[in-house]
């Protein structure tokens, strides 16, 4: 973090130059038109200043071509800015396929992080440089917003659902993390940092860092046992409940006839409020209790990671549950 009197933020992610480029274009457009208008006003207001008390202006002639010109030209520039901005936004909102998943929980007034290998951090996150990283984020209370100016990324963090933001850091160092959505008394102190390290240093850091639970999917597998989820959610459970193997990323048909994609938000809802979205065919058997209040956000993340790690029922043997045993 630099001190002094900077006028432009540090740039430390693959997204940053893209955002800066379109920002400079927008700034150029704004500066050009503001200057144009200001110069025209000064020129015209002086050139045509009133020279005698009873003077009046000339009668205006309609100029349709002018009206059309100053509608169409701005419209063209605006649509160009829209298209460019939409392209950058689209990429910023869609993590690349090889992005490693980290989890973030916001609460008044701190940030909690879970690494894929289970290490936990508060307010300060360590990540490797040059690796796309996606953050699955949720909040325990109010809306927060995850903002790292040097990466030019920001995304709201909501209670009751997961939102995603991703970045690929391009240089090592420590960068500021802010909460950008007003969240109560200590909003301005809900900050922290992202430390970007060389992959080798990151590995060493990971090894040193305490991981009480082990990898998320493994911790989830233990939780799955502890909460006796397997009683019903087993391939051989006589179809008491949907089989979870290979479920993630698939579409399921609900009792209502709607189709939904099985993603983190769907799994989360199905754990906390199982009756909200019952899969077609299981209406009569829907006996699963709610787990509201019984699972922390971190534990939910572990369970979801476990379910995501489950391959097809056929390749059942590959799951961490087995490999852990």
């Amino acid at each position: 973090m630099k001190f002094g009197f900077p006028l432009f933020p540090e740039s430390a992610s693959t997204l940053a130059p893209q955002v800066d480029a379109i920002y400079f274009f927008g700034l150029g457009v704004a500066a050009f038109f503001s200057t144009l208008i200001a110069c025209l006003i000064f020129y015209l207001a002086i050139r045509y200043r009133r020279r005698s008390e009873d003077e009046v202006g000339k009668r205006e002639k309609a100029a349709m071509w002018l009206e059309i010109a100053w509608s169409i030209i701005p419209l063209g520039i605006l649509l160009f800015m829209f298209a460019w901005g939409a392209k950058v936004y689209f990429e910023a909102r869609r993590p690349p396929g090889d992005a490693v998943e980290y989890f973030v929980t916001g609460k008044q007034w701190m940030w909690k992080f879970q690494h894929p290998e289970g290490q936990r951090e508060i307010n300060h996150l360590h990540v490797p440089v040059g690796q796309p990283i996606q953050l699955k984020m949720t909040s325990e209370d109010v809306i927060h917003s995850f903002f790292v100016p040097a990466f030019r990324i920001k995304m709201d963090v909501l209670p009751g659902r997961y939102t995603t933001v991703w970045f690929e850091a391009t240089k090592t160092g420590t960068f500021r993390l802010f909460c950008a959505e007003y969240c109560g008394a200590e909003h301005s102190r809900m900050g922290g940092s992202i430390t970007v390290m060389e992959p080798r240093d990151y590995e060493q850091w990971l090894a040193r860092a305490d991981s009480a639970t082990g990898p998320l999917a493994l911790a989830g597998a233990q939780l799955f046992e502890a909460k006796t989820c397997g009683t019903c959610h087993r391939p051989d459970s006589n179809l008491l409940a949907p089989i979870l193997h290979g479920l993630f990323g698939e579409e399921v048909t609900l009792a209502s006839g709607d189709k939904v994609l099985v993603d983190e938000n769907y799994l989360r809802e199905s754990i906390l409020d199982p009756k909200a979205t019952v899969v077609s065919g299981y209406e009569a058997k829907a006996v699963m209790p709610t787990f509201v209040g019984q699972l922390s956000e971190e534990e939910l993340v572990e369970l979801i990671s476990y379910i995501k790690s489950l391959g097809d029922a056929a390749s059942h043997g590959e799951t961490p549950e087995e490999s852990a045993g």
Binding site: M1, V19, A30, I37, L44, L75, V88, H187, S188
Partner: protein
Amino acid sequence: MSERKNYLNADYGVWSWLLTKDHKRIALLYLLSITVFFALGGLMAVGIRLELATPQGDLVQPDTYNRLFTMHGVMMIFFFLIPSIPAVLGNFLIPIMIGAKDLAFPRLNLASWYIFNIGGAFTLWAMLAGGVDTGWTFYTPFSTSFSNTHVIATGVGVFIAGFASILTGLNFLVTIHTMRAPGLTWFRLPLFVWAHYATSIIQILGTPVVAIAILLLAAERLFHIGIFDPAVGGDPVLFQHLFWFYSHPAVYIMILPSMGVISEIITAFSRKRIFGYKFIAFASVAIAVLGFLVWGHHMFLSSQSVYAGMIFSVLSMLVAVPSAVKVFNWTATLYEGSVSWETPMIYALGFIGLFTIGGLTGVMLSTLGIDIHVHDTYFVVAHFHYIMVGGAIMGYLGGLHFWWPKITGRMYPVFWSKISAIVIFIGFNLTFFPQFMLGYLGMPRRYHAYPDDFQVLNVMSSAGATILGVGYLIPLVYFIWSMRYGKKAGANPWGAFGLEWDVASPPLPHNFDQTPVVEREAYDYAAQHEERDVA
């Protein structure tokens, strides 16, 4: 024979004011109310800028700071900016401009002032009882389940004041439709009237939605009915949709009347018919209509779908076109005009410059790729202050200076008025321009404390705010002074065109002895001049 009675000296005593049905007196009652709210909102701003002069949150407690910016926003938006030009200048001028003796519903007009003050009283009570800390946006679930401040009382205040806004809009719409003088066709109307017509549509269609949002918020906060808080089965983003469905068009409630004022001033001090009359008139309506379709641009990062974000972005771009059309037409009006640099004109030209910057930075914010970084930072704060302070308040002050001789029959001191206009312009830019830079550097809004390296720009901003504050105090002093000591103004001190300049200053209680017959289009200075020469 002594002078004829005007609306100011026709009756005396408190009740002649508190029970008046005269639109001109009601306008002055509104002027008094909103000046009080503006002063209160301004005091909050003083607290904010003092705190932000240093990086450490060392002047007030975080809780106090959060209440300061919340109450600043609530006071300024709901109790000053939204009523400002319509309820004061619109109320005073629309009947006269269209050759009518009053608004269509004078009693409703008076009722709206009482309703407005009752709403204000609730909000004031909330403030005195400890304030509210949700931000003027009342985002859920913070406002429904977490804040332990006076959310309900403030919400009730805003809810009630909304009805005053609806009634004013309704009154204007009916008046403009049914009470125009003979010969005053739609395209002969002053653009000030067109702007208020467009504004009234938004007031009537938009305000009920914020009222509904507040009711739902209250239902969740008081009775724990799950609407917005996921913990009780609600959706927090739903509130943002409802809130911005009103509150984005509300920005146009604040800026459209100001644009109307600018059209009047530019023509009067160029003594020239406005360039592209119909384009400016329809631009107002286009802004009002498109303004209802862009609320989602406040929510690009709220978890709203990527495709919704794109639609709201492109629609926001479209709303910039009629705004650009207005700016170009105002500028072109100066061409071959007879331009005089009177105080209202300085405000109007200042408005064009600041509104242009505000509008173009708004385009940047609508650009999705830029918004990712600057959303919820000081860039946004700077942008909307360029629109609301640089635009709406400059227009309001320009209008007050333009019509003050009509309203009071007296002139204010010209020298001091020009000084204050320039002080306000400089103070404003020094306050808000550094905030664009702070925003891109990454300073989030609503921060009580901030990193050290943001201090230089924050000190510039606080210094500018001091100058701006002085700039606002000067007119307050000379306007009050002028009511007793100002030079008598005469009916038409600016040599301006329009029915309001044909009646006495101050106007008669019923404006016109005889309903005027309008034979010319608006701002027809050339024809008026020729006629005078012939005579």
